[in-house]
Amino acid sequence: MDLRAQLSAVAFRRPHVLLAQCPGGTGQRLHVERALREWGWPVAGSPADADLLVITGEPTGRLAGDITRAWDALPAPRARVNVAWPAGADEIRAVLRAGHKSVLQEAAETRSGARRNSHETTKRGGAAHEDMDMGEVDGLSMADRADDRDGLSLDVLHAPLGPVLPAWPAGLRLDVTWQGDVAQHVKTVVAPVADGLPAFWDDPWLRCLQGECVQVAAVERHRAAAHLDSLTRLLALTGPPGLAVSAALARDRLLAGEPAAEVEPTVHRLAGRLRRSRLLRLMTSGLGVLTPGQLAAAGVTGPALRASGARHDLRMADPAYPVFEPVVQQHGDVLARLLQWADEAAASLRLARDESAVLPPRVGAVESPRGQLSLDEAAPSVRLVDLLTGATTGAEAAAVRLVVASLDPDTDSIRDGVINPTDPDVELSGSHRGR
């Protein structure tokens, strides 16, 4: 019907997009986010609110299955697009527009009587028994009961966090056993990066370690953009939505090549507003405290370590950074890590003012946005992933999200087989060779 086609064209002129991020897709994800922001297409919080599923990176391990489940949960009219690598900004926008067209086509065709109703199991209790006299309803058994931390007997729910979740590291999945809203047991599962996909955020430092000469200004701008990206995700969960958008805008301006001197005032203002916000301080201070001892034992370096008070930054001993004072916070809580990112981004942009300084190729380790990076050791994000189980067990739902977002491991840099093999609660799901 022409009227239906016209009305649906108006109704879906800005489709809601669900981003399914896979490891190795950071570059694409940044282009997609920028396009969505410019066009005003809202980012959906869950499949129920989405029209278009956008997959960035390459699904590996169990990720493909999880993405299929998310796809099944999208209500009609829906469409699905893959943004593969390599793809430039224009190609990505063309792909998104093609997805939009598919949504419009389906919206115009679907007759109201044939509305697809998706049945989605989102609450599974205990272990699945086949016994009929265990009180089954529709094939689902009753939830098991177990003692919680206060000794009360509460229902046990198994509901995972991720991998298709807004403001969440790509390809990460926490299999959580909930009692009430407290995570009693957490198992971390990471999907490995598929072969050949780049680690976007670590790129300049990897090139430096592999023998290239890179400009300090370019390196520090990249670091500032990485911190602003992490900050955007954390602010999407905690802080004022206005500041989350502001951080995303600053990040996009840096990645688009704008001079550091022009972006620096914005970032400085952002850091100031975050520090002065008393309500933000009330909500996030004292949450997810990680002491320097804990972090050092786990081998964590970088902003997470500096936020707990340890003055550890490889740039201090680096001749390419003559006068370098590391940014350090206290307390090591979520607020400290938030402010650490903001302050380090501002400091990096100050360092990036000097266009002439050069970082010669080096052997050993360099300070990357997530921590100490070297070619013969595991990536710093692996240490962060190892921390997740311990830092989130026993925390309640909001705290789990905030702790993960404040550590923000970069799953692009987690290659096959380097996750701690002795910890049963951390797993690399499948191998990149067999999906």
Binding site: A11, A159, L165, D181, L237, L279, L282
Partner: protein, 312 residues
């Protein structure tokens, strides 16, 4: 002065609530557009209607072993309760029903929102929706007492629970001038009862949309529209209770009511982008230990003033 309106006043109320809810949503979108660096066109006024149209096209989801009746009922409750609560709000001197217990009517009805939001969270048989439903209950426990006490403070000053009498009692001085703490607490309660802005944890992105995680189509439209109508209803109720109703110098009374409502609504809507999310594990204690004593002290001051000044 203020009394019952003619029989068609209910239609006027519905129309006013609808227009103001759309305006609130349009304002929020315009602010978001501006913050994101997009150009704000005049078509943003129609965006809420387009969003509603989209939700009418989207398929309605169901989940396994959900409590269908209570789930859908919860969504419907979130929309109808604020409309019912607003019948005591006068526009230009006339309310749909100027009940002798108008203040209690309003407070009691917005408490029914607890039922609506919790049922939306519980009915879908979904873990995150349930957690978010309980978040709203915790939030309700935090805001309800301060909100009720702030409204009681105004009613005490007017010696009546009838909204019309509250407006009449503000002829010489608006209540907001000499009970500002109560007004601020009322605004906090207004944000919390419509789970808007800093108090949006029941629908927050950290639980993938909270109570709305599995809700789509018409049900989502009902809850979202109900959220905006609750905001409008709370803003509209603040006007006769604290801001002198339709009293004002030059313009016609109904225009004054409208302008004041729009002003309060604008304050409530802009609070979303400027304030961080408030979690109840940190705020609950604050609400009971700081806000309630604050309002009680305000109530004490009001009582002393009333006893000290002779009745007009």
């Amino acid at each position: 002065m203020v009394g019952n309106g003619p029989s068609w006043s209910l239609l006027v109320l519905l129309a006013a609530l609808a227009v103001l809810a759309v305006a609130a949503s349009a304002l929020d979108r315009a602010l978001a557009d501006q913050a994101a660096g997009r150009t704000v066109s005049r078509a943003v006024v129609l965006d809420p209607l387009v969003a509603g149209l989209r939700l009418l096209f989207v398929a309605r989801r169901s989940t396994r072993t959900s409590d269908g009746l209570l789930w859908r009922l919860g969504a419907g409750t979130v929309l109808t309760v604020p409309v019912l609560a607003a019948v005591v709000v006068p526009l230009g001197g006339r309310a749909v029903a100027d009940l002798s217990i108008g203040v209690v009517w309003y407070t009691a009805l917005v408490a029914l929102l607890w039922v609506g939001v919790f049922l939306v969270g519980w009915g879908g048989n979904s873990a995150y929706a349930l957690v978010a439903g309980y978040r709203f209950v915790a939030q309700a426990l935090a805001y309800e007492m301060p909100l009720a006490l702030s409204v009681i403070t105004a009613a005490t000053a007017a010696h009546s629970l009838r909204v019309g009498a509250l407006v009449q009692a503000q002829q010489h001085l608006w209540f907001v001038v000499w009970m500002p703490a109560a007004f601020v607490v009322y605004l906090i309660g207004a944000l919390a009862l419509s789970f808007w802005g800093p108090f949006a944890t029941p629908v927050a992105p950290d639980l993938a949309g909270g109570v709305l995680v599995d809700v789509s189509g018409v049900d989502r439209l009902l809850v979202r529209a109900g959220q905006y109508v609750a905001l409008v209803s709370a803003a509209a109720f603040a006007v006769p209770v604290f801001l002198g109703g339709d009293l004002g110098p030059v313009l016609p009374p109904w225009l004054w009511s409208l302008l004041k409502t729009v002003a309060v609504l604008a304050v409530l809507v802009t609070a979303r982008s400027r304030l961080p999310l408030v979690r109840m594990d940190r705020f609950e204690e604050l609400a009971w230990v700081v806000l309630i004593p604050l309002v009680l002290v305000q109530l004490l001051v009001v009582c002393i003033v009333i006893l000290a000044t002779p009745l007009a």
